[in-house]
């Protein structure tokens, strides 16, 4: 299983008001709120923790096939801007984040080997094509033999000649940034 999440910070600033009454309390635990409010850049920390929760949520849904909306159930610990853990249902996942002044990206993977790409585009089709190209090169397949489809609960899956491949895939797209990752 693999999960990743990217946040276009310019779009996040426009789409959400993290200082809105009730916003932090709905999403973040008390200790997460403290991390945010005591940080040098609370805006950045809000979205760093959010991307950690989202990436782990995506990986969790891949494992458990059940969607839900309860960000507080995913509890973050932050070691530094690039490393943290997220705990849910007694299981702790290690996350790796990349913080730029334009975007924040977090990835979690149970598999040691995976391929991650981050890029620029606001078109979903570009992301899908880039993913299939990278995947075909990585596996030595013909890109034209591959299809990308989302299953009933929205998890992306890669098919070769209409046969489901077992690689875990995670796609993330926000504003002008996209990222995808897949396991070996």
């Amino acid at each position: 299983m693999i999960g990743n999440d990217i946040i276009d910070l310019q779009l996040a600033a426009h789409q959400s008001d993290w200082q809105r009454r009730g916003f932090l309390e709905k999403i973040f635990t008390k200790s997460e709120q403290e991390i945010i409010l005591n940080s040098r850049n609370p805006f950045q920390t809000v979205w760093l923790l959010w991307s950690m929760k989202e990436s782990v949520y995506k990986a969790f849904v891949q494992q458990h096939f059940r969607r839900f909306f309860n960000p507080k159930k995913l509890r973050c610990r932050l070691f530094d801007v690039n490393r943290g853990t997220v705990r849910i249902n007694g299981i702790e996942y290690s996350t790796r984040s990349q913080v730029d002044n334009k975007f924040i990206h977090t990835i979690v993977s149970a598999d040691a080997f995976f391929l991650l790409r981050i890029g620029n585009s606001n078109r979903q089709e570009d992301v899908y094509q880039s993913l299939l190209l990278a995947f075909s090169k990585h596996c030595g397949f013909q890109q034209t033999d591959l299809q990308l489809k989302k299953n009933a609960i929205g998890i992306p899956k890669i098919y070769k000649d209409n046969i489901l491949l077992k690689n875990s895939v995670s796609i993330s797209h926000h504003g002008n940034y996209w990222a995808f990752a897949f396991t070996n």
Partner: protein
């Protein structure tokens, strides 16, 4: 409030956050906020907060957990309104 009234109010609430006009125009109880309306997951928090303000109710985390589609949202709002 009937379900029709509730859906109409909910439609007004979600409108600023939707990214799929067609799905929004054809909204039914089965419509999924994220998969169909393409509401950004961080904006789902705004939907919950707006619902709380509009109906003067509190949506606890256990209820929020299920609020992924119109049907679940309507059920939660009705339950909270009835227990007021």
């Amino acid at each position: 409030m009937t379900n029709i009234d509730l859906i109409a109010s909910l439609k007004k609430i979600v409108k600023p956050y939707i990214q799929n006009e067609v799905a929004f125009e054809n909204l039914t109880e089965e419509t999924d906020f994220i998969n169909d309306l393409k509401i950004n997951s961080a904006n789902l928090v705004d939907v919950v907060l707006d619902v709380e303000d509009e109906f003067d109710i509190e949506i606890d985390n256990e209820s929020m957990e299920k609020m992924l589609n119109v049907k679940a949202a309507i059920e939660i709002i009705s339950t909270k309104l009835n227990s007021k």
